[in-house]
């Protein structure tokens, strides 16, 4: 890579994403080593957002592969559209050449990132949903940066190596060969100070008193035991939005231990019940 290009491809953080220095370093080293970056962390720590931020920052298009449990690797690479071909051969009213199978090959998300005319960011979201075979085979493809289209006996090679970001929610580890080929980072839940900066980005004119009260309460609420899905950054942002839209709300209400719009923070009814009881206890 030329020096100026290198500069262009270094990552500093994007407009709506608060990035700690450590993570920026890891992203940059992964780009330099041309290795996929595996991100783990509880939901709401901004794993997916990071890929968006990298793409925005480097000025590269983002291609997202949302992994589903039933997904086969070939679907992520390419698809041979037999039905359209059958249809064309029957009615013959399309501009495609029926005898040319290649005209009926459509690229999947990984395929798109390979054939793209310029460098892209490829986000493979929630890899843990797929089975182990999928994961290992996919890493083979990403390692070699090429795959075969069996139907036309053609090898697709990546024209520009995409920046690969993989996210996983799973508590259990991915397979060893998989881990061996990725750089790894675990995004911890943001500290209150970082959270304050995140809130400031989303609500630039939120008062200091309000921000402090909300964040304090938010972290207190996260402490409640037995909650299945703890409120995360997304819930906090929505909660503040809800509080702000309520003309009767004042930060003093929070200081009294009352928590309005608890339902914005807790999405499961059992969690909501638990949280409501815990809040009621504090109020008394």
């Amino acid at each position: 890579m030329k020096e100026n290009e290198k500069k262009r491809h270094a990552f500093h953080g994007a407009s709506k994403y608060i990035l700690d220095e450590e993570l920026a370093k890891i992203v940059n080293i992964s780009i330099a080593l041309e290795m996929p970056l595996l991100l783990k962390g509880e939901p709401g720590t901004g794993k997916t957002m990071l890929a968006h931020a990298i793409a925005e920052n480097l000025g590269l298009p983002l291609i997202i592969l949302n992994v589903k449990s039933s997904m086969k690797l070939v679907e992520a690479l390419y698809q041979y559209d037999t039905l359209t071909r059958l249809n064309d051969s029957r009615f013959g009213d399309s501009k495609r050449d029926v005898s040319d199978i290649e005209a009926y090959i459509r690229m999947g998300k990984i395929g798109q990132s390979f054939v793209s005319g310029f460098k892209t960011v490829l986000l493979i979201d929630e890899i843990d949903k797929a089975d182990t075979d999928f994961q290992d085979d996919m890493l083979d493809v990403l390692d070699q940066m090429s795959f075969d289209i069996i139907e036309i006996d053609k090898t697709v090679k990546a024209r520009h190596r995409p920046v690969v970001v993989i996210t996983s929610n799973a508590k259990k580890d991915l397979s060893d060969p998989f881990l061996g080929r990725c750089n790894f980072h675990h995004i911890a839940f943001p500290e209150p100070e970082t959270m304050r900066r995140i809130v400031d980005v989303h609500f630039p004119n939120l008062g200091d008193e309000m921000a402090t009260a909300c964040i304090q309460n938010f972290y207190r609420l996260r402490e409640i035991g037995g909650i299945e899905k703890k409120p995360a950054t997304r819930e906090l942002i929505n909660w503040i939005r809800a509080l702000r839209s309520d003309p009767d709300f004042k930060p003093a209400i929070l200081e009294r231990g009352d928590v309005p719009y608890l339902g914005v923070l807790y999405k499961k009814s059992a969690d909501l019940g638990l949280a409501a009881r815990a809040v009621a206890k504090v109020k008394r």
């Binding site: 259990k172 061996g180 790894f184 675990h186």
Partner: protein, 397 residues
């Protein structure tokens, strides 16, 4: 460079691969690492592949680059337990004193530092000689506190007081959430479980059946006739109940973890519950057996075709199983003996098995294993046993 660092990491149990190490060298040669801070971050991203090892990595890093002494992992854990005990002592001094078998006054004389030291000493005694020892807690001992003991009228200390007792807290440190980790070592286990899947067509017809399409198109004299099918999906419901309590299951933690991990990745509709030794009125959805109890009666509303798999060593004092109110934990004393509850459960689900991680020779000794075997078909938690269990579960009738 940093070869020694690499080896200390390995020594301390961080699974670092040589290839990762070479990659680190490459990263260094790229000139992107300019400070120790950079090195810390970059080396971690490249070498350490799980957040569970982050703490260990930090310790080794501090040791290697800052000369901080490495803690012995075991001592570390004991200190934590001792601290937890101190917390408990502040809440309920009487219970803690009773658990140690000393007068409350004695302990009250000590400063917090002395208390921690005292707890630590007692805990060390305990790690050196439990299981059959005659000191205070442990299993199968002759001490009056502890459980599964042979002391007449011996009584478990846990669960007596309103709040959780000190020893309970200490033991809680030992509990493991089976869902947390466990490297997947025995992939055959997954293969065995896979056979249980029952694939049935379900959902919208959106899958082209090529064979049928060709046949129908031919029948139609070349007019294209596309035939769609429903996709095959796994409709099998599985309930897994795991004994995750107490010391007796401790040796089998690893194998149960493996089972759990595979079960979770294999079955779409898997529900996991936890119990301690045997089943009384409730089982728990959370591994701590505290927050989310579920009444056993409610299981009668489940699909009777659900496969029920119980995992436990089925070893306990006979009274826990046979007598009403035999529960170790006072809070779940029931009016019906556990054996009735187990029979009730087996009447709900005709496809059920009990997987026992205890080795076969232990079964022959009779005891509660023999009793439970009469209720549930029991298989040992080995590959062979698992396959036999799966065959049993997959049977149509």
């Amino acid at each position: 460079m940093f070869v020694q660092f690499f080896y200390i990491l390995r020594d301390r149990g961080v699974p670092v691969k040589p290839t990762s190490f070479l990659r680190l060298q490459k990263a260094l040669s790229l000139g992107l690492v300019t400070s120790l801070d950079d090195f810390y971050t970059v080396a971690r991203a490249i070498l350490v592949k799980s957040e569970r090892h982050f703490d260990l990595y930090d310790q080794v890093f501090l040791h290697h680059f800052r000369g901080v002494e490495l803690k012995d992992p075991e001592a570390y854990e004991l200190t934590d337990i001792a601290k937890a005990l101190l917390q408990e002592w502040l809440k309920d001094p009487a219970a803690v004193a009773a658990a140690f078998g000393v007068a409350e006054k004695e302990l009250k004389k000590m400063t917090p530092e002395e208390l921690i030291r005292y707890f630590l000493d007692r805990l060390k005694e305990q790690t050196e000689a439990h299981h059959g020892g005659d000191r205070w807690i442990g299993t199968r001992g002759t001490s009056p506190v502890g459980h599964s003991g042979t002391h007449p009228g011996g009584m478990r200390v846990g669960g007596v007081s309103r709040s959780k007792s000190a020893i309970k807290v200490a033991m809680d440190r030992r509990y493991r959430d089976y869902s947390q980790d466990g490297p997947l070592t025995q992939s055959q286990m997954g293969e065995a479980l896979k056979r249980l899947r029952r694939m049935v067509p379900a959902g919208p017809k959106d899958l082209v059946n090529v064979d049928k399409t060709i046949r129908e198109t031919l029948r139609n004299a070349g007019e294209i006739e596309i035939v769609f099918d429903r996709r095959l999906t796994d409709r099998l419901k599985v309930i897994l109940m795991i004994d995750n309590g107490g010391w007796s299951m401790e040796p089998y933690v690893e194998i149960v973890q493996t089972l759990f991990n595979y079960a979770r990745s294999q079955f779409k509709d898997l529900r996991t519950y936890y119990f301690h030794n045997t089943i009384y009125d409730v089982v728990w959805q959370d591994a701590r057996r505290y927050y989310r109890p579920e009444q056993l009666e409610d299981f009668s509303r489940r699909d009777p075709e659900t496969r029920l798999i119980l995992v436990g060593d089925a070893s306990m004092s006979p009274y826990e199983l046979m007598y009403a109110g035999g529960a170790l934990d006072m809070s779940q004393r029931s009016t019906r003996p556990s054996i009735d509850r187990i029979k009730f459960l087996s009447s709900l689900f005709r496809h059920s098995v009990w997987l026992n991680p205890a080795p076969l020779w232990k079964w022959a000794q009779g005891g509660t294993i023999g009793v439970i075997r009469q209720v549930f078909p029991m298989f040992d938690l080995t590959l062979d046993g698992l396959e036999a269990a799966v065959r049993r579960l997959a049977a149509k009738n």
